[in-house]
């Protein structure tokens, strides 16, 4: 085949050399617009896993590359006035210049025609070749020419960054977080040869504008960064190489080949620098392309195979990179975290590394995290603890097994169990099987057991079998459960009070959700007269008298819950039930003082909260479940939820339980393991309130990761063994 490679970067050079090496009959030309020694950027990072594939692909260049490697296994984090370090990561880097030299020489050795300083303006000039490999970078002229075939999309990041060097040798991948009068700046830096390191300085747009960097020229930018990082740089100087401030372009492309043209590297995909280098992806593309060409004689089959192999891998990588990019773009929200949770949150930002992973990479770091949480837990219990006690913790449990104090209630650990309360009662009165489920849950080692939805009135039930606490006769059965748990376990007990609103008068959820009763329906109330689904009953719009009644129901239920001895009271302001119907603009169309903007829509739910807070003993905490996202267009989103959480916190709410969806029948959340955790992270750290979170969490590792990263304070777990536990008929 007659092959032309457009672009003499690592992707182009590496694919040419691998294809030629596999089959020397191919006639290959590389066309590069720049001179052989012109290059931008400084160092390139690789993880150890990548290297194995380089070794298999071409041992000769692999050896030359690794000879030039700077290798380290630590990540250092400079945050506030502390430096934390986590080891065991094994990362290596090389200067881009050395990498290109090695690959160019290897290409020449194999007899590839390298044409530098040749500009191609239209790929039609290259139509005589059998295969055009377009490795011409982000601004690929080939991709642009066939845009309608490749279908690319570029999304620009919100942050600004500049790629600099420094004549300083680092001994670790180093993150520096620095706040000054202009805003927040973060630095990603790493060594790449014996004298120099890469310094990428990134900030949000506001900080960038405040610092006047939009008007700064190259030398002014350099001077600004030099001053910003004076403490870290010491004698070292930052270096520029035509560096300027840019927004990160995230490129995704739907199709990777068209006729006899194939794209690779930056020409087809980019991934934020915080998770690894585009060079790594580009060279992996080259390996896949050359082996596909070697395996399949038919060109189209080969290009298909290349796309099939690489596209899913790149997509997963881009997803993680996107999360990492968002993390850095919105870093401000995490600046309230103390250094240990901040560092842990940073290291686990992409969701690919967990508590167990970090512990196995660096046991000392794992111990540091454990000790920090153990200290934190102990400090909740004494007011004037001498600071010398900080160092006294030597042996400590993992974060999941540290205590949490809410007002005067001490939860022995961070696990919450909430058995499904679908058939919990007859006429509101607790049935024995459900009482036993709660007892069994408490005996399992959890820190808190929750009752699930308990109705504050018969009209507030979801189903006829919904548990209630609306008659004095209901209290006895609850008290018996609570006493059992207090006497025989170390767990605390929470009751979740709810009024079903327009989701009431439905059947058991054995067969599905919100199926109306066939007979014995009861009247429904909601903020506005809109049925939950076309088959559900039309609710009555609540008037003042209805609201007074409901408030009274909540107050009486609160008194009874205290009488029964519950430790924590939990109110449901979410999932489309009565109080949620006031909060979401989708379900509240009122024109009175309880409708309109969020502060008005919150009026009735907050009035309920205040009445309950006044009734519930001061030494006991209150939790509220809120919707962090209605998952419907024009519904509540996470920014609204942060405002709601702040309002509740100001009214004396102790912990927010985070959920999404169910507001209307059209809510279709993206379910999955940990699907609620990002919402909890935002609410906890932006509203400054403790949170609890669910999301099919089944392992201690998941919970440890969430707690240690400061994404939530309590986790509602759903381990599969619970089904058997709950099915056990009696607690003995």
């Amino acid at each position: 085949m007659k092959i032309v490679v457009l672009g003499g970067g690592p992707a182009g050079l590496y694919s040419a050399l691998l294809i030629k090496k596999a089959n020397p009959v191919h006639d290959i030309t590389i066309i590069e617009r720049n001179a052989p020694d012109v290059t931008y950027g400084w160092g390139v990072v690789f993880s150890d896993r990548t290297l194995a594939s380089f070794q298999r692909a071409d041992n000769k260049s692999y050896e030359q590359i690794t000879n030039h490697f700077v290798i380290w296994d630590n990540i250092d984090i400079h945050y506030r006035d502390q430096k934390l370090s986590c080891g065991g990561h094994v990362i290596s880097s090389i200067s881009r210049k050395s990498l290109l030299n090695i690959l160019q020489n290897r290409c020449r050795e194999l007899g590839i025609d390298l044409q530098f300083r040749r500009e191609i303006n239209d790929s039609a000039e290259l139509r005589d070749y059998d295969l055009l490999i377009a490795a011409d970078g982000l601004n690929s002229i080939v991709r642009k020419k066939y845009e309608s075939n490749f279908k690319p999309g570029i999304e620009y990041g919100k942050a600004r960054y500049i790629w600099l060097g420094a004549d300083k040798v680092l001994d670790a991948f180093t993150f520096i977080f620095r706040e000054n009068e202009h805003g927040l700046f973060q630095v990603h830096s790493y060594p790449f040869n014996a004298t120099t390191s890469t310094f990428i300085i990134e900030c949000d747009e506001a900080s960038w504008l405040n610092a006047g960097l939009d008007k700064a020229d190259e030398s002014q930018s350099l001077a600004y960064c030099q001053h910003l990082l004076a403490d870290n740089l010491g004698e070292a100087r930052l270096l520029s190489n035509n560096s300027r401030w840019i927004s990160f372009p995230m490129l995704k492309t739907q199709h990777w080949h068209h006729e006899n043209i194939v794209l690779l590297g930056d020409a087809i995909h980019t991934a934020h620098f915080s998770i690894g280098s585009g060079t790594k992806l580009a060279m992996e593309d080259a390996i896949a392309l050359s082996s596909a060409l070697e395996q399949h004689a038919d060109l189209e089959t080969a290009l298909n195979a290349y796309e099939l192999e690489r596209k899913p891998v790149v997509e997963i990588f881009q997803k993680a990179a996107r999360e990492s990019q968002t993390y850095f773009e919105t870093l401000k929200r995490h600046m309230t975290l103390e250094p240990v949770p901040f560092t842990f949150n940073l290291l686990t930002r992409s969701g690919r590394i967990t508590y167990d992973d970090l512990r196995s990479r660096d046991q000392r770091f794992g111990d540091l995290v454990d000790r920090w949480y153990a200290n934190k837990a102990i400090s909740q219990f004494s007011i004037d603890r001498p600071s010398t006690m900080q160092t006294q913790i030597v042996f400590s449990p993992p974060p999941v097994f540290t205590a949490l104090k809410l007002r005067n209630v001490h939860l022995p650990n961070r696990i919450v169990l909430s058995p499904c309360s679908n058939c919990a009662a007859h006429n509101g009165r607790l049935v024995e099987s459900f009482a036993n489920q709660l007892k069994n849950a408490a005996r399992s080692g959890t820190g808190l057991v929750e009752t699930g939805q308990v109705a504050v009135s018969d009209l507030g039930r979801i189903t006829p079998d919904c548990a209630g606490i609306y008659q004095s006769e209901h209290v006895g059965a609850w008290k018996q459960v609570v006493d059992y748990i207090h006497n025989y376990t170390s767990s605390m007990v929470a009751i979740q009070l709810n009024h079903a609103g327009r989701r009431g008068s439905t059947r058991s959820r054995v067969d599905g959700l919100d199926i109306p009763l066939q007979e014995d329906n009861w009247p429904l109330f909601s903020a506005s007269s809109i049925p939950y689904s076309p088959s559900n009953q039309l609710p009555k719009e609540m008037n003042q008298a209805d609201m007074d009644n409901v408030r009274n129901d909540f107050v009486l239920a609160t008194k009874r819950a205290h009488e029964a001895g519950f430790d924590l009271l939990h109110l449901n302001f979410a999932q489309g039930y009565l109080l949620a119907s006031f909060i979401s603009p989708l379900t509240n169309h009122r024109s009175d003082e309880f409708g309109g903007d969020l502060q008005y829509r919150m009026r009735f739910p907050l009035a309920i909260f205040d009445a309950v807070r006044e009734t519930w003993p001061l030494e006991k905490p209150i939790a509220v479940t809120i919707s962090a996202d209605d998952c419907v267009k024009d519904g509540l989103n996470v920014n609204d939820a942060i405002e709601i959480a702040k309002m509740l916190k100001n009214h004396g709410c102790d912990i927010i339980a985070v959920t999404i969806g169910q507001t209307t029948i059209d809510s279709e959340p993206a379910y999955g393991k940990g699907f609620l955790t990002p919402f909890s992270d935002r609410i906890r750290n932006e509203a400054g309130t403790p949170t609890m979170v669910r999301g099919y969490l089944t392992t201690n590792d998941e919970v440890n990761t969430i707690i240690a990263a400061g994404r939530a304070d309590l986790c509602i777990m759903d381990p599969p063994q619970l089904h058997d536990l709950y099915e056990a008929t009696s607690a003995t």
């Binding site: 099939l308 499904c420 939805q453 959820r509 959700l513 759903d718």
Partner: protein
Amino acid sequence: MQVGVGLPGTIPGAHGELIFEWACRADEAPFSCLGVLDRQVYDSYDPLITLSAVAGITRHVKLATTIIIGPLRNNALLAKAAASLDALSGGRLVLGLAVGARKDDYDASGVEYRDRGKRLSEQLSSFRSIWEDNLIGPETNHQGGPKLLIGGLSDQSYARMVRYTDGYVHGGGPPRAFSRAADKAFAAWSDAGRPGKPQLWAQGYFALGDTNAINAGYRYLKDYYAFTGPFAERIASGLLTSPQSVAQFIRGYQDAGCDELVLFPTLPDMTQLDRLAEILHAQDIRRTE
């Protein structure tokens, strides 16, 4: 976990007699169900007609669509057909529904392709009222209609599953892919406050025997999935071609929490069923009544 077998109704060249013999033999043991697939524009039999035909000559096996493309069909007609099959078979129907992946199936049926997800939700809601209120009859074997499953990889599939049905049917792939889907189903289930666990069904393809048999299997899969373009290669590469790979596949799904795994043939040949039955016997997998 139970293991069922697919009927060869979507394999070109599978005649009625083969399908009947296949069904009778599978009914004996050790298979838990007979599965069918749905495709309009292909040399294949209609899924409900096929299941009805074999309902009369079987007694034990469940009859499962994994899946049938719901929105292609009129709500009342499909509700009636499913209720009839359920009643006639003594309650053995398991109706798995999804939106399907091919636009030409919609075009050929004269049905709008857009909003098909929304229409599937409406269809599920309408089934409930038709079956429960016995609006058009016949009365189904189970009160409230046959067991329903939802298929599909979109986020909406899981929301639909938890709102209207009894579980999820996975489209295929290695056990790890199933496991991720199962996590989504479990997350939706516990989040919505539904009691117990969702029923989790899954499927795979097998071709057992000599190289000719295996190659015929590959050819069929590449043809059946040709509409996915390059992805057909990948689906074909998941074909189970040895007793060991079948056994491993079963074990993987068992460990990942699957309740019922349906293995579909890829060539119209009775020996395929015998070979699969042998493997199940060797693995001591039986039907639990």
